[in-house]
């Protein structure tokens, strides 16, 4: 109880809400760094994934880049960036962009390949040309997958931006890294709470955006949803 009280006290201390080391400033640093990195990763990755998916080439590359991305520890990526360009915001940005690219490439590629050949045939039959097929048919169908990739990248980037405090950059990780270093456990805990809440907000918001990005025609129909609900009630009915 006393420890929770200490954490609460840390949050209530006005000094922790002001200046360059305060919560608002660290939070805005974290959000700005994550947002810019995600944007840069998307600008690089989306054209690659979409074009590869559209022409149907390079599938191995598009899919394996995610596996490679998973195998390279984000911590190592960050330290390598430091060795390349020194400490501060720049190596953090480079590492975050690098780790944000693979999920977006893979998911947008898969999304583009999800488009049924018959659907493309029908679109061409209706008189649509290349660019129109892409913008009116392929991209809307691929959009939920593209959003899934962006969501995965965003959550990874927000998480790894926490580690960037190790390379002399700010963000919410500062509270955790300094809390560890100074054995100031209330500060450590407060930092962890802030980072966890931010990550969950990003995850849930983008999950909502992903649902909204699904074209109406691709959403499960009301009838299917009803059926799903029904199966929840008469569970274990041997339907499966």
């Amino acid at each position: 109880m006393t420890f929770i009280g200490q954490v609460l006290q840390w949050f209530l201390d006005g000094a922790h809400w002001q200046g360059d080391g305060g919560i608002p400033h660290r939070l805005s640093e974290h959000i700005a760094m994550s947002g810019i990195s995600l944007l840069a990763a998307a600008v690089i990755a989306l054209p690659i994934g979409i074009i590869l998916g559209h022409v149907g080439r390079g599938g191995n590359l598009a899919i394996n880049i995610s596996n490679v991305g998973r195998a390279v520890p984000s911590f190592a990526l960050l330290v390598i960036a430091v060795e390349l360009v020194g400490i501060g915001a720049v190596p953090a940005f480079i590492a975050l962009v690098a780790l944000g690219i693979p999920p977006i490439v893979t998911n947008s590629y898969i999304g583009m390949r999800e488009v049924d050949a018959d659907v493309l045939e029908a679109a061409r039959g209706m008189g649509m040309r290349g660019r129109m097929v892409l913008s009116r048919v392929e991209l809307p169908i691929a959009l939920p997958f593209i959003m899934a990739g962006i969501r995965t990248s965003a959550v990874n980037i927000v998480a790894t931006a926490t580690l960037a405090a190790l390379v002399a950059w700010g963000g919410l990780g500062r509270f955790i890294v300094d809390g560890l270093g100074q054995q100031d456990y209330p500060m450590l805990y407060a930092g962890a709470i802030l980072v966890a809440i931010l990550s969950l907000i990003v995850e849930f918001t983008l999950a909502g955006v992903q649902r909204m990005a699904t074209p109406a025609g691709l959403r499960p129909s009301k009838a299917i949803q009803k059926e799903e609900r029904g199966s929840l009630i008469r569970r274990n009915s041997g339907r499966r």
Partner: protein
């Protein structure tokens, strides 16, 4: 740049073989600790995920809560999750393992449920017709058919855990992560490169050997893609 790592050396190359040959014992110990931390995490993860996966598969009511809870654990950044534990379990292996196991659960449970869900209805019907009782059917029909999907989950969990173990260097464990942290603190590239290369190599070895294990124990699924 941080302080120069090696006194008297102006230029720090990406790799210095003499450092490696003089520190083989340190590197070996880090590698072994990395493997231990990973094996324990994935092993415990499987032990926890199997009953939870079965529950989520059998009783649809539990599906939402199980996936929400493990999804939340998966979303919380590793450094934050470790930080939540430190005031209680300190800078210990226990802290590291609780965090690492938490991250495997969503991946493992999801693949267990997908695997069991994908057993064709006709197969289950046939098993029932042949007189299989519930538990026997689960053990001898459903579960073996779900093995490829389950191993696919273990592969992802293992590769993810191998990457995350490096972060535990910050709480005094780390395996190969301790080499990476050493490289950062002393601004010395060789341990960084060694730690990174071995960590990626370990992930590849784990992935490939689990994939071959799956081909050996489920020969019927050969040639069929499992994602």
């Amino acid at each position: 740049m941080l302080a120069t790592g090696v006194v008297g050396v102006a230029e720090d190359p990406w790799i210095r073989w003499d450092w490696i040959s003089r520190h083989l014992d340190v590197i070996g110990a880090a590698l072994i600790q990395h493997i231990e931390l990973t094996v324990i995490a994935v092993g415990l993860g499987v032990l926890i995920a199997v009953p939870l996966g079965l529950l989520a598969w059998r009783r649809r009511l539990f599906r939402g809560p199980v996936f929400s809870l493990t999804g939340i654990l998966y979303t919380i950044p590793s450094l934050a999750l470790f930080s939540f534990l430190i005031p209680f379990t300190g800078l210990t292996v226990l802290t590291a393992e609780i965090g690492l196991v938490s991250y495997t659960l969503l991946i493992l449970i999801r693949n267990i449920v997908i695997g069991l869900d994908s057993v064709p209805a006709e197969v289950r019907e046939a098993a029932r017709g042949m007189g299989y009782r519930r538990l026997n059917q689960l053990a001898q029909v459903d579960f073996p058919l779900a093995v490829p999907a389950i191993i696919a989950g273990i592969r992802i969990a293992a590769v993810t855990t191998i990457g995350l173990v490096t972060v535990t260097a910050l709480i005094g464990e780390g395996g190969l992560g301790s080499l990476i942290l050493d490289g950062l603190i002393r601004d010395f590239k060789t341990p960084l490169v060694v730690g990174t290369v071995l960590s990626v190599g370990l992930a590849v070895v784990a992935d490939v050997s689990l994939a071959s294990l799956q081909r050996v124990i489920t020969p019927w699924s050969r040639g069929r893609a499992v994602i």
